[in-house]
Amino acid sequence: MTNPHIDNRTRLLLRLAIVWHIFLAIGLFSGIVLVWQTSSMTGWLRLLLTVIMLSGGFASVLAALFIRRHEHRGRVTSLIINYLGFLVCSLGTLHVLGVFLGIDALAETFPRGIPYLGGIFAGYLISAFGDRYENYPKRQQAFRRAGKIIMGIFGVLFLLAIRTLPGLLALIKRYDSPTPYLLTTGAILFGIMIWALWRKDSANALKANNAHEEMLNGLLFLSPNLLGFLLFFAAPLLLSFYFSFTNYDATTKVSDWVGLKNYISLLNLTIAPLSSPGQPATEVLNTKIYDELTRITLFGRGFIIGAQDKLFWTALRNTVVFCCLAVPLSVIPALLLANLLNSKLPGMKFFRAIYFLPSVAAVVGVALIWQWLYNAAVGYINYAIVSVINFVNNIFGIAIADPQIRWLSDTRTALLAVIIMSAWQWIGFNTVLFLAGMQNISKEIYEAATVDGASKWAQFTKITIPLLAPTTFFVVTTAIINALQLFEQVYVLINTEPPGGPANSTISLVLYLYVKGFQRFQQGYASAVAWVLFVVIFSVTLLQYRRQRGGTYA
């Protein structure tokens, strides 16, 4: 391919771009040196900035090289770097100037201008009304002019009403240190370079074709979402992975590298034989490191299992138990309920709405109501149980004792109470999903089965359940993920201090993570818990996925 003709202006701009990228690379590499000479910076921030500046520096060098060779990837690289630089400098300027803290002022002031926006809209309508008089140009012009004047007047009034001028003056006053000037200059320079490379002539000079242009436009459209994902999801994820190898404490900002210590503390278990079932743990375990987790009997011999972090294993066990019970309790009844609601009986829409209601109610509100229901002394559930027992005793002349279930304060029933409440709340949502799945199953299949003499039960087991496989996969997978992330239900319903009572019988992994991260401020350790939880959820989901692909659900 021959080089296209390049005009002098474009040639100059491309040379400028090369120089700009060389300077940018030098600046970024110098920045790395500066970062490592600044003693007050925390380790993770230093590392993060180094990675960013190193990547930016190399990308900038490559951009300069490719532009010099008139290769289009130089333009793409340069545009990406300059776009990101422009965003960083612009947002940085706004941050330094305190604009993001002015949300209250915006909320107070902006509504004053809303009526004037209505005036602008009225002007636009008047202007547009002129289009009806295409055959009368003068009248059309008059409408358009009148509309523009009205829009102009209301535009000015709008600017005055929302106090743009005082805002501008306040903004100028905030330029009282070199930082905002530097950032603004940076934003302008990056902006100029974007313009220089985006131009059609520059694109032609760098051999851009339609596919290249489409790719750049696509990236531009994708950028808000992509940057949001990287900034608010991927970056914290990676940061938490890094923190899991440190003793990070957000209040004191201490962040020393501890390697695998957090993971070892979490997972460290020991097992020791017992000479007698009642032998104290202090005699067999090194209690300076381990606490007794549980006792088991294997081949007629007693063993004691000790854990360095007993609470983590307790939380893991509770979470697994919760998942194993809450998922079937919320999925199987939902399937049956959906089957029932799928019929064309009168009032079904009403019942669909009723069953869905708990899903839209806030967990906190639901938990507070259940707290009262579960109260052992004055709660309605125990009242109902006692009433039924009294009724049965009176009818049959027997003496069944009141079980006096202490739903929330007994270690045997507290987790069960959480399971019942959660299943009750999730059933509605699962029902709607199943219902949607059932309504997608072709009615002809049921008609054919009826003609063949299949019973309703046979239709349900041989048609509905197999054809619902994709929905079932989705429902079960999301229910498992939700169950493994158990938090609010325990935090609010079992309102104990420390959380997860009684006697840690309801503490879940996420609650444990919360306690470590936000009550004790051991964010490094909490991050390790989060990653272990991630591995658990990922493994379970992967297993599900493989089973589904293997045809178990099909």
Binding site: G102, L106, N375, A377, G501, A503, N504, Q519
Partner: protein
């Protein structure tokens, strides 16, 4: 093409105006009229210097209900009018779904916590040793007329604990805050139930010096005999209520110098054994351990409900029976074993205005401000003053407010931060172990054999 450009420009203009509007300086509220000077300025006096820029101080405490929020807001407005050049912003903290301390700590980590805030006494050590709160010693030393002796000595001992030397008191070189209020436990009584059971009046027994564990158990047992859903005693499941029984038997959470676990001491075990008997003994008399005892008490099914002064407004508002309060019964040690609950106003270590924050701290703990808040009935002033106590006694019901004061006078154990270890780690071990004990999952011997091996890990 032209229309597209116009729309682009208009859109950019609109975004720009949004930013500019956000830059508009917030209108400062009209200054509250300050009290007039006592002397009129002389006619020849030089013109007053231009007023300095108003400094905004944010402060926060934990209210239990809207009535408390209103009282604290009123106190804030009154102090705001009094302090020249300072604008106060009061932020009530905590709700059903967000723990006061969790939110506060998160804000501290993010650098957005208020200048002045309240924390419970147990948290002082953690906050001070992490450097999250200011040492106010120098500011206090430079303040004329300020004395730590104006407050109850037990909280002040902790609030003046020097992290390096371990010294306590006025000359320790440390002052971490000033106590907001103090409180003790009492037993709120349902007198209707006690009369119905034919049990003696605990107030009378206390007046006669006969109110001890035996008498307490006797009243509780008689009331419990009224029916399966009527209880003699109720308390919520946290360290306060169970600590009382240990303290009253001569034990406690820690050893004498608070450097190791004391939960397996003879006194602690005796106290826990008595308490366990109330819950899972041969004749249990208490609302099952772990159940919230407030609803059954409000429903008129509990004779003696152990709680602090903070429960008074709720009982005033909701109890539909004859009620009063009595001090805790005396245990084998000859004392009630009561706690002196307290919390303190402290200053954020990152505040930009420590001197103004210190002024606010002093104003929040004046007898006048504390009196205003005590009127609500939620707390007892933290200043040692007959005037404050006499005023407190008038805030009835309960008629027997003296029960709170008797608790204060009977050598209560101050709610104590753990300077030699981590209180959250300690309570995380202690609380589940005691829950297991009180619900009958473990025996006293099992508890005694293992508790301190685990709990001692919380010490440095």
């Amino acid at each position: 093409m032209l229309r597209k450009s116009i729309w682009t420009i208009l859109s950019l203009l609109l975004v720009a105006t949004l930013f500019l509007t956000a830059c508009e300086p917030k209108e400062v509220a009209a200054p509250v009229e300050k009290p007039a000077a006592t002397e009129a300025p002389a006619a020849t006096e030089a013109p007053a210097p231009a007023p300095a820029e108003e400094i905004t101080i944010r402060w926060r405490t934990r209210p239990d209900n809207q009535a408390e929020i209103d009282v604290y807001q009123k106190a804030s407005d009154t102090i705001d009018a009094k302090l020249e050049g300072i604008t106060l912003v009061y932020e009530p903290g905590g709700s059903e779904s967000s723990s006061y301390q969790d939110v506060l700590k998160t804000e501290i980590a993010a650098g957005t916590a208020p200048d002045v805030f309240w924390i419970p006494g147990t948290d002082i050590a953690d906050f001070a040793s992490r450097g999250l709160i200011l040492n106010l010693n120098d500011l206090a030393a430079a303040t004329e007329g300020f004395s730590v002796d104006s407050f109850y000595p037990a909280p002040m001992a902790h609030l003046t604990h020097n992290l390096e030397t371990g010294a306590e008191g006025a000359n320790s070189g440390a002052l971490w805050g000033l106590p907001r209020d103090v409180s003790t436990f009492v037993l709120y009584l349902n007198l209707d139930l006690i009369n119905e059971a034919g049990a003696p009046d605990p107030r009378q027994l206390a007046a006669e010096g006969k109110w001890d564990w035996e008498a307490f158990k006797d009243v509780a047992t008689k009331v419990r005999a009224l029916g399966p859903d009527v209880y003699g005693y109720g308390a919520n499941a946290w360290w306060g209520p169970y600590g009382v029984w240990m303290n009253a038997a001569g034990g406690g959470f820690y050893n004498a110098d608070r450097t190791a676990c004391g939960l397996d001491s003879e006194g602690s075990i005796a106290g826990l054994a008595f308490q366990r008997d109330l819950y899972v003994g041969d004749n249990p008399v208490a609302v099952p351990y772990g159940e919230d005892s407030e609803p059954p008490f409000m429903a008129g099914r509990v004779a003696m409900f152990q709680n602090g002064r903070w429960a008074t407004p709720g009982i005033r508002a909701n109890a539909n029976f004859t009620w009063d309060a009595v001090e805790l019964p005396k245990g084998p040690s000859g004392h009630m074993g009561n706690w002196l609950f307290w919390g303190a106003y402290v200053i954020n270590a990152n505040t930009q205005h420590p001197e103004e924050a210190w002024k606010l701290l002093q104003e929040l703990t004046t007898a006048e401000t504390q009196g205003m808040i005590s009127e609500l009935g939620t707390n007892i002033p933290s200043r040692v003053s007959d005037e404050a106590i006499n005023a407190f006694l008038t805030f009835t019901p309960p008629d027997n407010n003296q029960a709170f004061i008797n608790g204060l006078m009977d050598m209560p154990t101050a709610e104590g931060p753990l300077w030699a270890g981590s209180w959250p780690e300690f309570v995380a071990v202690m609380d589940p172990a005691i829950a297991s004990l009180m619900t009958g999952k473990t025996t006293i011997d099992e508890f005694k054999a293992s508790i301190c091996a685990e709990a001692n890990k919380a010490f440095k």
